[in-house]
């Protein structure tokens, strides 16, 4: 349902665009020189003059049959372009997704367990800095230092230039993939790390950790036994839900590295007024986001025994209004001054 609404919004936005679909689709020069028949065919495809809903219906009908139209820039069916591009992006996205998830989780745990001591300050400071760095600038700097100045990595593209597709080795692919993947991983670390850190602090301030301490378990012992699984669940959920954000980073990083992925295709489509391709990519990425969220829900249902026995109960992690606003952890706990029990239950 949501996907249908999203696709409608996508269509609406594309449709709102002031560019004439036919002209934009074939380009100025081609538009003048092309045959009447071709023009009529394109106009029919784009349904010039038909009402919006009817055109949307046609488009959606095509979408359901895997017909996303023809890409102007690549002169191929959109589905084919997306399939080709998705392969390259998939490697990049999955490495960054897994890498940033693992690294971010470990850093978040270390910071949370060292709450307000130097490792925490260091990691938190680094994460704040990372969230303030635009991913394209990080990619530019990496390119400049490691590819241009040091020459460790190629300057761009997914395969060596001028080498036939058949001669490309796995080593070449990995070599080209490395730097963009590292950049994208670094970009994705901060949100997971900060979120995990907050959950660790919340756990450590909670009743379960308190009881562990009262039973004489050491801080890491208690965390290993109980904290890990309680904290990993929200972290994995966040990571599933942040597929879209990783893709956003990929758009910019691919653009800088001229990496022929889906993100770069989206930019090309947008700049080149390649309406079909843009709409197609938007729909595909919305499916990606939807899939991530769906996976998170399923995971919760499978892993959390409370959800297993009482499905549909209120979400396990209810967050206060500010938690959603400040998507980074609070630096300090709130003393609960109104009750006598100062400092208890005062976590935000």
């Amino acid at each position: 349902m949501l996907v249908v609404v999203v696709s409608f919004v996508v269509f609406l936005l594309v449709d709102l665009s002031p560019v004439d679909p036919v002209q934009a689709n074939v380009g100025q020069a081609a538009s003048l020189s092309m045959s009447e028949a071709k023009r009529a065919q394109l106009e029919a495809y784009w349904g010039v003059g038909e009402p919006l809903l009817e055109r949307y219906g046609n488009w959606l009908w095509g979408l359901l049959h895997g017909d996303l139209g023809t890409s102007l820039r690549f002169d191929e069916p959109v589905a084919q372009v997306i399939a080709e591009r998705a392969g390259a992006s998939f490697a990049l996205l999955s490495i960054a997704w897994v890498g940033s998830g693992l690294l971010g989780f470990v850093l978040g745990v270390v910071a949370g367990m060292a709450h307000r001591r130097w490792p925490d300050r260091l990691i938190r400071g680094w994460c704040f800095a990372m969230t303030s760095i635009p991913s394209f600038w990080l990619a530019l700097i990496a390119l400049m230092v490691f590819a241009v100045a040091l020459g460790w990595f190629p300057i761009g593209f997914a395969t060596p230039v001028g080498v036939a597709q058949a001669d490309v080795t796995w080593a070449d692919v990995a070599h080209h993939l490395a730097l963009p993947a590292i950049c994208l991983t670094l970009v994705g670390v901060a949100p997971v790390a900060l979120h995990t850190r907050e959950k660790v602090i919340e756990f450590e301030a909670g009743e379960v950790a308190d009881f562990c301490r009262l039973r004489g378990e050491g801080p890491w012992q208690g965390f290993w036994r109980h904290g890990l699984r309680n904290v990993a669940l929200p972290a994995i959920t966040l990571q599933c839900a942040s597929v879209g954000e990783i893709f956003g980073g990929a758009v910019l990083v691919e653009e800088v590295f001229s990496y022929p992925g889906l993100g770069q295709a989206a930019v090309t489509a947008g700049l080149g007024s390649d309406v079909c391709l843009l709409a197609g990519i938007a729909v595909v990425t919305s499916l990606l986001v939807f899939g991530g969220n769906f996976a998170a829900d399923v995971l919760y249902g499978v892993v959390d025994p409370r959800m297993r026995s009482a499905r549909g109960a209120a979400g396990a992690s209810k967050e206060g209004p500010l938690a959603s606003l400040v998507d980074r952890p609070e630096d300090y706990d709130v003393p609960n001054a109104s009750t006598g029990e100062v400092g208890r239950g005062g976590t935000v």
Partner: protein, 320 residues
């Protein structure tokens, strides 16, 4: 150091013990009067706390918003309390007065921005933070208020067994011992074998109570501190829980029962420590509650008057 604490410390070091003689019920010593069951084996209290103060970081009150500096705001001050072997001491005070903080402070557990000061002896030995941490895993056990203290994602049996100690073979042996002990305790407290495999949210109120008690008993402690163990239980279950405590104390252990329920305290405990305004104002035997003349502190007398059989003379300041 006051004369009294010095005398006590002397006893702890094995010098001339001031508790060498037997006490009688109602006899005053160490700010408290004894009960029949109170015993001083080794001539000292099992747990003795002197001058315990707990403060939390807060902003100065009264100062303008931006001028208010950070300062420690006392929550508990100068608490002295002692628990003997074989007895059940009830700490009675109003809800939200800081009784739970007292329990955690005695066990050396602090939350963020909490400062704990004072002197704590266990079995005659002065304790610091490290000492208390050792005691927590061996000699002193805590029973929390509710089952929400258990890890929601771990099966009950594994949580009751706790962490095995030692390395290598010793660890495996300890794990085996814990398993055996857990099964034995479950059998004793009428918890079926299937309970082991349940998650905390699947436990009923009575089962949860007993599971928490089993958690405490796995390590065979000498002192159990129980924080409000009866709310939410029906009368029969509450009675059963208290009966379990009673038998633990009668077996030579000691119980510190923290509650807001003076009636309950008088019904099951041997002695009562009255908690008021962040400190223990009076520690006396249950027998002293027979008549207000035997109580020293005005607040204790208010408690006495608040008892149902004493016509609620002071209803404005009842504990509950």
């Amino acid at each position: 150091m006051t004369d009294e604490t010095r005398a006590f410390a002397g006893g702890a070091r094995g010098g001339p013990p001031h508790e060498a003689r037997a006490h009688h019920t109602g006899e005053a010593h160490h700010h408290h009067t004894h009960a029949l069951n109170s015993r001083h084996p080794g001539h000292h209290h099992l747990l003795q706390v002197e001058g315990l103060s707990v403060a939390f970081e807060g902003y100065e009150s009264g100062a303008p918003f931006f001028k208010a500096r950070r300062a420690f705001v006392p929550v508990l001050h100068d608490v002295s309390i002692g628990v003997h072997e074989g007895e059940m001491l009830a700490v009675v005070g109003a809800s939200g007065a800081g009784k739970s903080i007292l329990a955690e402070a005695i066990m050396g557990v602090a939350t963020q921005g909490e400062r704990i000061e004072g002197r704590i002896w266990f079995d005659g030995e002065a304790q610091d933070e490290a000492g208390l941490r050792r005691l927590r895993s061996t000699e002193i056990a805590f029973i929390p208020q509710s089952v929400s203290c258990l890890d929601p994602l771990m099966r009950v049996g594994e949580q009751v067994r706790g962490v095995p100690r030692g390395k290598g073979r010793a660890r495996r042996e300890d794990a085996a011992r814990r398993l055996e002990r857990q099964r034995e305790l479950f059998a004793r407290y009428r918890l079926g074998e299937e309970v082991e495999r349940l998650y905390p949210h699947e436990l009923s109120g009575g089962m949860a109570r007993r599971v928490l008690l089993c958690c405490a008993l796995v390590d065979e402690p000498r002192l159990i501190i129980a924080d409000e163990p009866t709310p939410g239980l029906d009368l029969a279950l509450a009675r059963a829980a208290l009966h379990d405590f009673r038998s633990f104390a009668d077996g030579g252990g000691a119980i510190m029962l923290i509650t807001h329920d003076i009636e309950l305290a008088l019904a099951v405990a041997d002695r009562v420590a009255v908690f008021h305004d962040g400190t223990v104002v009076e520690e006396t035997s249950v027998a002293s509650f027979a008549s207000p003349e035997l109580l020293r502190h005005p607040f204790s007398r208010e408690l006495w008057h608040a008892l149902p059989e004493h016509d609620f003379a002071v209803t404005s300041k009842t504990v509950r």
